[in-house]
């Protein structure tokens, strides 16, 4: 028999509730993690084996990070942007957006140094430029190479299997756990109908459940892999 209060219609005026900063921040973080998605990796114009692409990327990154020549930086920027310009507009923007964001962040972090030491401004600008180009290059590889080919290339480069395995699972579960966090916070939001005096307790609960779930997922994945004959030697497809 349902209780009497459940049979009545209630008039409810929600009281104001401040301090939702922690909840909003955590939800934004979860949303960001849920969007960290490894691209399916369609073949681009540069039809090279994944191993070559990976080696080319590593060589370019190494050159970029070691060089202090603005001319080389400009040449690399021209090369990378020239290749990126062959992408359709929507895809081009999704390649450029994170790189621009990271470059702006790098500039902000370098701002105090640029103000305190004006003669080093050129070097600081080169650094921000290097961040911009590096991220575009990594993004292009990610977009134009299927993830399983990247893991295979890593194995061909004799990167330890356990490292590839951890990298693979981490990327997969970052997305899952980000999604889980967003769902839990959504569920919390649906029942947070008034003033929550214990906001940090419930936010802590969401983080706790996410942590427990991550432990459980990793254990279950390990067990499932062992059941299917995994012998700690990770081979990409």
């Amino acid at each position: 028999m349902i209780p009497a209060w459940m049979q009545k219609k209630e008039q409810f005026a929600p009281p104001g509730d401040g301090g939702a900063f922690a909840v909003r921040s955590l939800k934004a973080l979860g949303g960001l993690l849920a969007r960290v998605r490894v691209q399916r990796g369609r073949e681009g114009r540069l039809r090279l084996p994944a191993l070559w692409k990976l080696l080319l990327l590593l060589a370019l990154l190494l050159t970029l990070s070691l060089s202090r020549q603005p001319l080389l930086l400009l040449a690399l920027a021209a090369l990378v942007l020239g290749y990126a310009s062959t992408l359709p507009p929507g895809e081009l923007w999704s390649v450029l957006k994170p790189a621009l964001g990271a470059a702006v962040l790098a500039l902000l972090l370098l701002l105090p140094a640029m103000l305190l030491w004006p003669e080093g401004r050129g070097n600081n600008l080169i650094l921000a430029g290097k961040v911009f180009i590096s991220i575009i290059m990594v993004n292009l590889l990610n977009r134009h190479t299927p993830w399983n080919q990247i893991t295979r290339a890593l194995r061909q480069l004799h990167v330890p299997g356990v490292f590839v395995f951890v990298l693979d699972l981490t990327l997969k579960y970052i997305v899952l756990l980000g999604g889980l966090m967003v769902e839990l916070l959504t569920a919390r939001g649906l029942r947070a109908v008034g003033r929550d005096r214990h906001k940090y307790r419930s936010v802590g609960g969401v983080m706790g459940v996410t942590f427990l779930r991550s432990t459980e997922l990793s254990r279950q994945t390990w067990e499932a892999m062992c059941c299917r004959g995994f012998t700690e030697d990770y081979k990409g497809l």
Binding site: P3, W5, M6, E10, L190, A192
Partner: protein, 221 residues
């Protein structure tokens, strides 16, 4: 005035993806009981997300009790809270609803924010625990309960808010036979008490016993 009015809503998760709901219309009066049926991917859960103000259609209108529910309207916390107090939503996966340290705290989470007196809050929590036979689990962590127990706790937590509209996504899935008949009886009582019920279910017996109106959903082509 209808409690829920959906006029030709179209929703897709991304601009380049095909719509999950296309020109979908529906009208639900207060006290109605409606069961949605359809294959996987027919858009039941998406429809529930729209009805809860978690997703917003790209085209068409959604009105709840005469008020158009839009992203802009729900941005105001007072509106969102008043709306969510009236609409209770049981997720298909109840695990995603439980984040408190104990079952008692989980159930108390919503009503504690309603400005009830300590005695009223206590009564509400005890009533909900008793309604689902959860008294023995009151101090346990919801995370460590079985799937069926989690579903009961999640539903108890939703009912503790005493919503007018209950949206239940597969309410009987994962429950044992005893719990299924207990929950069916409870839903019948809630219906008699004037609550509006919206269910996604493949359980014909439940639809029959509740006398639910059936709505078949198909994925848009």
């Amino acid at each position: 005035m209808a409690l829920i009015e959906l006029d030709n809503i179209t929703f897709s998760y991304a601009p380049q993806e095909p719509p999950v709901l296309r020109d979908f219309s529906m009208r639900v009066e207060t006290g109605d009981c409606l069961a949605l049926r359809g294959d996987n991917g027919a858009g039941k859960t998406t429809l529930f997300r729209v009805l809860n103000g978690l997703s917003f259609p790209q085209r068409g209108q959604y009105r709840f009790d005469g008020q158009e529910i839009t992203q802009a309207w729900l941005k105001k916390p007072a509106h969102a809270k008043a709306f969510h107090k009236r609409v209770g939503y049981l997720f298909q996966n109840p695990e995603l609803m439980l984040f408190n340290a104990t079952v008692r705290e989980e159930i108390a989470f919503g009503p504690r924010q309603m400005g009830l007196s300590k005695d009223e809050l206590q009564t509400r929590v005890e009533d909900c625990l008793a309604l689902f036979g959860l008294e023995a689990l009151a101090e346990k962590a919801p995370y460590h309960l079985s799937g069926g127990q989690k579903k009961k706790v999640a539903l108890a937590a939703v009912l503790a808010l005493n919503p007018e509209l209950l949206i239940l996504d597969e309410p009987l899935a994962g429950l044992d036979r005893g719990s299924r008949s207990q929950l069916t009886e409870l839903l019948e009582e809630l219906r008699q008490a004037g609550k509006t019920l919206l269910l996604a279910t493949h359980d014909d017996a439940l639809c029959r016993e509740l006398g639910a109106e059936l709505l078949e959903m198909t994925a848009p082509e």
